[in-house]
Symmetry: C2
Subunit: 464 residues, 2 copies
């Protein structure tokens, strides 16, 4: 038995950021190569810190859903997941034994050789009569001075497509590193140029930065004698699904021995199902057994009859994505579960549904009820941060306390990381008894804002 974990970036602000990962997870579930397909996120839940806890089996494959190697795949993900690895990932991936579980961490999907095929598809969509006579292909990468590996994949694809002879010229240029994208008129001499953004999805860069930097006015822009065709980002091409399936199959081939049920994980869920069979309040929801099925609904809606009926874990996931005020809920334990629905599941679906409703809460709640959940104090969380988040190391204890009061005050969880006591969990009949083992990335990012605002003020005072 094997678990597959797809890792996405996610967002604290954009409720649609995880859509692509959802989509590929569902697709792979349908394919059935793996016995379960899970998701983990940098900025959503389950977090990178929690996601391995949510895996059912002792053989876990982790695929980063990123388009290139770089800061996230080489630094953030392995660090947060506790893989004891930093830096470039070898082609066969990184394999680790963590608490009796074999974890196999692969390269990101974007480095798969078949991405060249996807780029060519995008180019032909943009310019169906592209020809080796007069058409150049320009692949536009993000690039970053932070990590040289992130541009390598763009060059590889350019090389492969150049070798195919399908275009008169093929070049790779970047937004944030040299050679820059605005050098294309000198670099290329073809009359027609097809430009394909090597990005995961449409966004600020593909819709604002690139068109503005290059003066593109739409899908086709004339520059005197020359014509530029601007294509869609590669990451949203339907064929990406095949790349990911391919990657999953390659990873499977790396896993000679199937895993088994992870006993710790099964113990937690067995205990949970025992509670569910008796009827259980969990956070703001109530679970009621009914003729072999389980009904989940907001506790506030108990006894209410005019409720929307949901029948799939995904339906529940999407229904609770926004609060009734329309706010996005990147932290699922914020006390703003929308009302007006009930969901009915069999035992297998209940498990997945609760994983969507309150990610990693069953696993961590059970550990806490056994006094076995390790808390990570704020100081360690702060010390571990890199990139823009190192700033939180400069937060005063007062700033951490005040920001946490504001943010965590609206969250169901009890902050073990701040020394708060949780004597009884929902396993022991306290609906709101849910542990928080470590400051979540949402709080970390709010604390960063607090420090940044204070430093901004200090600078203004100095110059005043």
């Amino acid at each position: 038995m094997r678990s597959l974990v797809l890792i996405g970036h996610g967002s604290h602000l954009n409720p649609d950021s995880a859509r692509a990962v959802y989509h590929y997870a569902e697709l792979l579930r349908g394919q059935g190569f793996f016995d379960e397909v899970l998701e983990g996120y940098w900025k959503e839940e389950p977090s990178l810190r929690q996601v391995l806890r949510t895996a059912r089996y002792t053989d876990v494959t982790v695929i980063p859903m990123f388009i290139s190697e770089g800061y996230f795949t080489e630094t953030v993900i392995p660090r947060e997941m506790g893989l004891g690895h930093q830096g470039p990932v070898p082609p066969e991936g990184v394999v680790r034994q963590i608490g009796g579980v074999t974890v196999r961490y692969t390269l990101p999907y974007g480095v798969h050789p078949s991405m060249s095929e996807v780029i060519m598809q995008r180019a032909l969509e943009a310019c169906p009569d592209a020809s080796p006579e007069d058409t150049a292909l320009l692949i536009i990468g993000h690039g970053t001075t932070r990590n040289p590996n992130s541009s390598r994949v763009v060059y590889h694809n350019a090389d492969r497509i150049r070798a195919s002879g399908r275009f008169r010229e093929v070049a790779a240029l970047f937004l944030d590193e040299d050679p820059r994208v605005n050098t294309w008129p000198e670099l290329l001499s073809s009359r027609r140029v097809v430009m394909i953004p090597f990005f995961t999805a449409e966004g600020w860069h593909t819709q604002e930065t690139i068109p503005e930097d290059l003066g593109l006015t739409g899908a086709v822009t004339e520059f005197g004698e020359r014509t530029v065709y601007y294509g869609l980002p590669v990451g949203t091409h339907p064929q990406i699904a095949d790349v990911i399936v391919q990657l999953a199959q390659d990873a499977l081939a790396q896993s000679p021995m199937p895993g088994e049920d992870n006993p710790d994980h099964e113990e937690a869920w067995a205990a949970f199902m025992t509670r569910a069979d008796a009827g259980l309040r969990l956070g703001e929801a109530t679970i009621t057994p009914h003729a072999g099925l389980y009904e989940v609904r907001p506790t506030l809606d108990e006894g209410r009859e005019d409720l929307e009926l949901l029948a799939t874990p995904e339906g529940l996931r999407d229904r609770v994505r926004l609060s009734d005020s329309g706010e996005y809920r990147p932290v699922h334990t914020l006390r703003n579960l929308p009302r007006g629905w009930r969901a009915v599941f069999d035992a297998a679906d209940l498990r997945r549904a609760i994983g969507y409703l309150y990610p990693a809460v069953v696993e961590e709640g059970y550990l806490a009820s056994q006094r076995a959940l390790q808390a990570t104090p704020w100081a360690s969380t702060a010390r571990r941060q890199t990139g823009i988040y190192t700033k939180v190391q400069q937060a005063t204890p007062e700033e951490v306390a005040a920001t946490s009061r504001r943010v965590c005050g609206g969250c169901l969880k009890t902050r073990l990381w701040a020394g708060d006591n949780l004597y009884r969990t929902f396993f022991d009949g306290v609906p709101g008894g849910i542990p928080c083992a470590e400051a979540c990335t949402f709080l970390v990012s709010e604390i960063r804002e607090t420090v940044a605002a204070r430093q901004q003020q200090e600078r203004e005072l100095q110059t005043a």
Copy 2:
């Protein structure tokens, strides 16, 4: 049996705004002249629209806790309370029969003749050796061009104190109407001048506007030959309590026949107590009967043992005033009831405690459960507004809907005023089934902000 209702302004922003009214209500409860003492607020709950519903008896005396007559006492309060009266209130008050209840609306406490005594006390505190030889008294009123009656009380007090012969000169000057406060040096000729602000409490006007306008540097300021003594506002003097007791007694004398239990009100509470005797979920709280007493606690804290024990309705009122994030809760049905407490009451205290926890919710919830709660559509609410709130009449339906989604989405109540359906209330087993009969003043004020922001933008576009 008689009910007394104290009316305060209250605030959407300042959690301490209602403290003074709390204080006087408790004092009058202790005195026992009235069989119950209730509170109602313009900007808090129970609102002026709801407060008569919360009265237990058919004889209700309403005292506005304002320092002068004016816009609030003559326009806002009678209109919102549905007294069918506008304009000056005669000395004996306004008496109305409303649905079998006798409602007696009095003048504000500040117009009571004994306020002159309080002003003199304040003057002697500020300048103990004030003398008819060389000391002038200046009473500083707010004044407003909106309502000439608001300054009358200041002149009356000046006249009464002048007649007492205790000061060489006595004058009344105003912040917002003529004669203005900065004309005092010409108006008065005495060597020493005691200035007493005729205000309810310390605040922006007494601590900022007045000292700044007059160049006062503290309790004593020298202006060449002359000395100014700046005293404390009259409204916070301990003797105000006596004024209010006096006012309540005068009102009582106006009430020859005691009232009885209001049958509608009693029916609602009897139904509620029947539910409480069986155990009841109400909003985010759970009420559990226990050996003749009742325990109230947040539903999320069910089964939790490390809870702060509260034993008085006032203790509960103060404990739920802020959310766990530290936000003030002017609307008590916002879904941010703080956790970490349990309260134990006898039946009589439970009634008052629930009145503090969820003001007017039992009365309105019962009516809704009987399909007898009259909803007021937004259009009527908007049309009724005066003063700065007339602006909401310019809100588009989209602005009302969007602002209400944001605000009401975080509130337990179901908006009958917006046409939302409430099929079952907490009387029928739905904890979150609480009606909202009419847009609350908090929402009205948020909608005003929405319109003001849009109009500001439009102006900027025009001048751009």
